[in-house]
């Protein structure tokens, strides 16, 4: 019964989203206020219905109702409650339901908090949002129904993939979807603005919080996924340039670019048509991420052709969403007029350069991800594009970005002088060069990666700090005055400084672990001691340990540093009883300076065990940097100007004459 209610609510949500997509749009173009007002209750209702549907599916998973096909295939009575809940989105159908839940949540939030929006813009934005919702509801109801029943329910379910039974991965998809779907808000705003024919500073100010929220969630989602891969997959890699990872990374790059270009629209009323285009592209990349992950196109064009229903549906959706919006863009964008005048050396130009580098970097990732499919389709050639390609082709863009960032971020709007800004940044530059030189001297003769990475990271962090201190007139005003100024700097500026410093932390982490990781792979018996990078790992024992839905063999290692025991590590090899699937659980001793990472391998014929040990310097800085960036997003979101709201549009309408019909 509850499951049927969920199914019915989903069908109703589909109907309501069709109303949400059409009535406000017609109302906005005809000027019928009551039709426009339909958007708000429709968006709220749509969310309530989807939430009901989601709750019903969760109920089926938690109560192990195996007459529901999805629960039978992805849940199990032995599974801990946490994984019965997260199992709801650990599969295709359920993850789509989560997607629509978040989509409608954003819609309901615009309806609730968008009070200051002009009625037509609000109606059109919600209508576009409803249209996206309708497409996804149709996709679910017609090709991927999560509420399908089984005529003969099994006694017990098939269990969730053991690799997914992990807190890191359990919460990875919701964050990722908050990001993906959040970009639908920027998209809806962009399309609505194109229909209105009007993009101005006020528009940018309304779009920015949504983009910022999406970007923050996407940052957290990607970091969680990367961290999960690090500790779960068993060899301590943290980024694999896998197409599925790239699918989330491209929208992140586009969203980062959008975040920056929207600042230019907001502050300087220029770069509008590029910002609109970016908003469309960012969401297109999100949809494409869904498409390449869901369609089977990843593995082979042939795998896609063998079961095309879902793939073709998503492809049609992708074509309609991007094609429709781009056509509208081609028609309306030339009418957008720019206001701001600025010199080649200015914050505006620096942000244009930022966008150029981020867009080209996203383009490289896109090319690399799609090229195997394109070649296979084009001339039948099978090629692979993996990490070695991306490391070579992508990294230069990030290095260039890091070099220009602190200077560009400190340039004044409209007209700046490079020499002047560079002088202000001189202490930061000196610090960065000193850090690089120190690292170079310490490591003597290894690759340049370490010094360069640490130097760039320091440059980013010190640059961000230097700019804030400069604005607080450190050294030029009394200390009390400096403190007062620091306190009064807008939250958005603190967000900016934090985000750039976070990027610096990630830079340092990435280059340190790439340059200086130490590794030991060998066979050992209990009683042996192994030495790596000044640590002694004593292999004590291997013992049997039972788990809730698995059995494990657990190795016991004690780690000594300078004769003192610093850690006790227990890596496991597990076999999940239902799926008969073996997994390895690495044991990690985490630290700011280094991670000690031990993996227990297979037993050998002579009674010894294969053992892998890594010492990973500064590896946690990668994710700490990402978290600092996400925190920066939150700090920036709390800025006063979003809370106060942008009630007053610029009095002089920079509208396109005649565009509003």
């Amino acid at each position: 019964m509850i499951v049927e209610i969920g199914h019915f609510a989903l069908i109703l949500a589909f109907m309501v989203s069709i109303v949400q997509a059409t009535a406000p749009m017609i109302g906005a173009s005809r000027g019928w206020a009551d039709w426009m007002r339909v958007a708000e209750p429709a968006a709220a209702l749509c969310w309530a219905l989807t939430a009901t549907s989601f709750a019903a599916l969760t109920w089926a998973f938690v109560n192990s109702d195996f007459s529901v096909k999805l629960a039978a295939e992805h849940s199990n009575t032995l599974q801990p409650l946490l994984y019965r809940v997260t199992g709801v989105w650990g599969n295709h159908e359920g993850s789509l339901l989560l997607w629509t839940l978040i989509l409608t949540l954003y819609g309901a939030m615009v309806a609730a908090f968008g009070g200051a929006l002009p009625p037509t813009l609000k109606a059109r934005t919600l209508a576009v949002q409803g249209l996206i919702g309708a497409a996804f509801f149709a996709f679910m109801l017609f090709t991927s129904n999560p509420f399908e029943r089984l005529p003969n329910p099994p006694l017990d379910g098939a269990d969730l993939n053991p690799l997914l039974q992990d807190p890191g991965l359990a919460f990875h998809p919701p964050f990722l979807y908050l990001g993906y779907v959040g970009l639908s808000m920027s998209y809806s705003f962009a399309v609505a603005a194109l229909i209105e024919g009007r993009v101005d500073a006020a528009w940018a100010r309304w779009v920015r919080p949504w983009t910022l929220a999406a970007w923050t969630a996407l940052t957290v989602g990607i970091a969680l996924g990367s961290y999960w891969a690090y500790y779960e997959l068993g060899w301590g890699g943290w980024w694999f340039w896998d197409p599925v990872e790239n699918a989330s990374f491209m929208p992140w790059l586009a969203a980062t670019a959008l975040l920056h270009s929207a600042i230019v629209v907001e502050k300087r009323d220029t770069l509008k048509s590029w910002t609109i285009l970016l908003a469309i592209l960012a969401f297109t990349l999100s949809l494409m991420g869904t498409f390449i992950v869901r369609s089977g196109l990843l593995t082979s064009v042939h795998a896609f052709a063998s079961d095309p229903t879902r793939g073709v549906f998503v492809l049609a959706m992708l074509a309609a969403a991007s094609g429709g919006a781009l056509a509208l863009y081609a028609w309306r964008a030339p009418q957008l007029r720019a206001g701001g005048v600025f010199a080649p050396v200015s914050r505006e130009s620096a942000l244009v350069l930022n966008n150029l580098l981020l867009a080209a970097a996203a383009g490289v990732v896109l090319l690399g991800t799609l090229m195997p499919m394109i070649r296979e389709y084009w001339d039948g050639a099978r090629i692979s594009v993996g990490a070695p390609f991306f490391e070579l082709a992508f990294t230069p863009f990030m290095v260039a970005l890091a070099i220009i960032l602190p200077i560009g971020a400190a340039l004044p709007w409209k007209r700046g002088r490079l020499g002047r800004t560079a002088r202000r940044m001189a202490p930061a530059l000196a610090l960065a060069l000193a850090a690089a030189a120190l690292v170079w001297a310490l490591q003597t003769g290894r690759s340049a990666l370490g010094p360069v990475g640490v130097g760039l990271g320091t440059w980013l962090i010190a640059g961000a700090l230097a700019e804030q201190l400069e604005r607080a007139r450190l050294g030029r005003a009394p200390a009390a005055e400096t403190l007062r100024r620091l306190r009064n700097l807008p939250r958005a500026d603190w967000g900016k400084a934090l985000a750039h410093a976070g990027l610096g932390l990630s830079f340092i982490g990435v280059s340190a672990v790439t340059a200086w990781e130490a590794e030991l792979i060998r066979t050992a018996r209990p009683g042996d001691s192994l030495e790596l990078s000044g640590y002694v790992f004593v292999f004590d024992d291997v013992r049997q340990v039972p788990g809730p839905n698995y059995v494990a063999r657990q190795g016991v290692f004690r780690v000594f540093e300078g004769g003192v025991e610093t850690a006790r590590l227990t890596p496991e090899k597990r076999v999940y009883t239902v799926q008969r699937m073996p997994t390895t659980e690495a044991a990690i001793d985490m630290g700011l300076a280094r991670d000690l990472y031990v993996v227990l391998g297979d037993p050998q014929d002579d009674g010894s065990w294969a053992v892998r040990i890594y010492v990973k310097p500064l590896v946690n800085w990668i994710w700490i940097g990402a978290l600092v960036m996400a925190l920066a997003g939150l700090v920036s979101l709390s800025d006063r100007r979003y809370r106060v709201g942008a009630a007053a549009r610029r009095p002089a309408p920079a509208a396109v004459a005649g565009a509003a019909e």
């Binding site: 999960w228 990872e245 593995t299 795998a303 030339p334 007029r337 005048v341 244009v352 692979s384 990490a387």
Partner: protein
């Protein structure tokens, strides 16, 4: 030559797809089972040769896996390839010769970093080309912005309707 690997590939691809479908948008190469990768018994005694083998292994694709290199993969085929790479190195091949040997046997699919060729020109030159074209467009935009009115030339003249509104506003 390529018929059997292709068939195996498809089977593995389907298996990977199932894992993938279950995974949603999560990252990571998901071969089934634990990732054990290069084994102690495969490794060469000479640390210099072994380092070369490890570096080469990271450039080579495990043909039956989804985007995994043979160094990380625990598939049987990856093990065979790891041993093959080490055999070639012991036989005195240079890195380039080892790669050529594997490409001759398994096709270009085995390389995780595609060679520069006519077919791959778009892949390798796409990034620099985007940067160049985008750079030219950006430079023109910035130049025009310096002169005022970046996006649609100079400020367009007012329409009749706007003139009328201004007149009304001025009268008030």
């Amino acid at each position: 030559m390529s018929a059997r690997p292709a068939a195996r590939l498809r089977a593995a691809a389907l298996a990977a797809l199932c894992a993938l479908a279950a995974l949603g948008a999560a990252p990571g190469p998901l071969g089934p089972g634990p990732a054990l990768a290069v084994q102690p018994d495969e490794m060469l005694d000479d640390p210099q040769l072994e380092a070369r083998a490890r570096a080469l292994s990271k450039e080579l694709r495990c043909l039956v896996c989804r985007n995994e290199n043979i160094d990380d993969s625990n598939a049987d085929l990856a093990r065979d390839l790891r041993i093959l790479v080490r055999e070639r190195i012991k036989a005195g091949d240079s890195d380039e010769e080892v790669l050529r040997y594997l490409v001759d046997r398994y096709g270009e699919f085995v390389l995780l970093r595609p060679r520069f060729s006519l077919g791959n020109a778009a892949l390798w030159l796409g990034g620099p080309a985007m940067l160049l074209l985008g750079g030219i467009a950006a430079w023109r935009f910035v130049r025009r912005a310096g002169r005022g009115g970046a996006e649609a030339g100079a400020a367009a003249p007012l329409t009749e309707e706007e003139r009328a509104r201004i007149a009304r506003l001025l009268e008030d």
